[in-house]
Symmetry: none
Amino acid sequence: MIHVKPYFCEAKNSMSILKKILIADDEPDILEIIQFNLQAEGYQVITAKNGDEAIEAAKKNQPDLIILDIMMPGKNGIEVCNILRIQPAFKDTLIVFLSALSDEQTEIRGLETGADDYLTKPISPKILVSKVNALFRRLNKDKDETEIVTVGELVIDREKYMIKFKGNDIVLARKEFELLALLASKPGKVFLRNEILNQVWGTEVIVGDRTIDVHIRKIRQKLNLDCITTVKGVGYKFEL
Amino acid sequence: MIHVKPYFCEAKNSMSILKKILIADDEPDILEIIQFNLQAEGYQVITAKNGDEAIEAAKKNQPDLIILDIMMPGKNGIEVCNILRIQPAFKDTLIVFLSALSDEQTEIRGLETGADDYLTKPISPKILVSKVNALFRRLNKDKDETEIVTVGELVIDREKYMIKFKGNDIVLARKEFELLALLASKPGKVFLRNEILNQVWGTEVIVGDRTIDVHIRKIRQKLNLDCITTVKGVGYKFEL
DNA sequence: GTTTGCGTTAACAATTTGATAATACACTGA
DNA sequence: TCAGTGTATTATCAAATTGTTAACGCAAAC
């Protein structure tokens, strides 16, 4: 299995991750205005011209936020939302409707479909950006934790970029550190290889399958204890 | 007229923990309307008539969500928001502005103050309720991500990819796990062989009939108990 | 300019998993 | 009872997946 994407990536510190936003609208002008403003704010933007394109682009890019027009040729926004929300991969993705329809029924239906917000056109680009910022702010608030994570006898200090295990300092290379930090962030949870690639390597890099294995091996070697369990055909998990 | 509202239902279920909402507005009418509608939705509502009351009530009741009017006698909404956000106790509290001021500047400033949404009066009570539901839905989503199914003494944890039966951990291979998870997802339901093939193996793969049998057998063997019943000529079902 | 270490890949070994065939078993109705 | 049909069991082999080691390119450090 190989990820085919252009090479453009630095280390992803868990803090400053480039947020990806997918915008789906059939009006090119609106698409362009929103794209411009969000990019100016530092977001990475992907666009789609209709519902089907949106679904495809979502699957391919795994965006952090999806902005959906309601009225689009082919599948409309609400249908797209429904289709995406069913899939586990998009269960937690931020979804916002952006529609010219401002009637109560549609808005309520949109929100009950599982969207996080419903915005009505016309909307000031600046306000839209503010709303988007607010959504991400909320998302990060709930996720962010301390810089120091402790799991049993393992201490992971993001700030100092160091790891202690049973009182001994252990030096890990960056990828090794990120990988271990990811696995240890949810002890017991099985991380799929894809999840690992997305979190540690980012979605834009090409790496082979063995790469993960090799790093896992190095970590196991350095920790001198097999706290990482392989779940064949699924992924890896961290356990004390 | 009856709608199918999957996410709506979810919101109500997760509300088994009664959510507290504080509303601050100097117009008694608005206060009453909003209070009525939110209570009808199952929320516990506290009200305040101005900024100072709002702060006091917030400290006293520690609400889950605070709805703030911007223009209030004494401290205005934005000031209240600022004061609260500084305190650790309200760092993560949901805050929404509800204002008659719809100018861009104020709205942006409101959002940048750390609010989660900015609503403009007049607003339909139903839409307000939908927005509130959406906010809580997002909040809960980030908290409980666990995908654990429990059927009697059998525990299926998708996230950890583990199975416990009568307190013992049982290791299943991927297909075995998926198969058991499928059957246990609807105890008592008979799954046709075709259903099983589609769900576990996917529609693209073609495998013989015996394949299912073999996997069923392995599961029975590992669980050491026949909780899977054969329905001859039809399929299999899970029963404890 | 050389050295060093990281990240990656290639190549092969080791292991696990999954599918099939062959056979045995259970149940049904004539 | 005896075919006839459908399932259980087992062994076996192919395929998929992962583990391990070595080597290479590259960039930063010396």
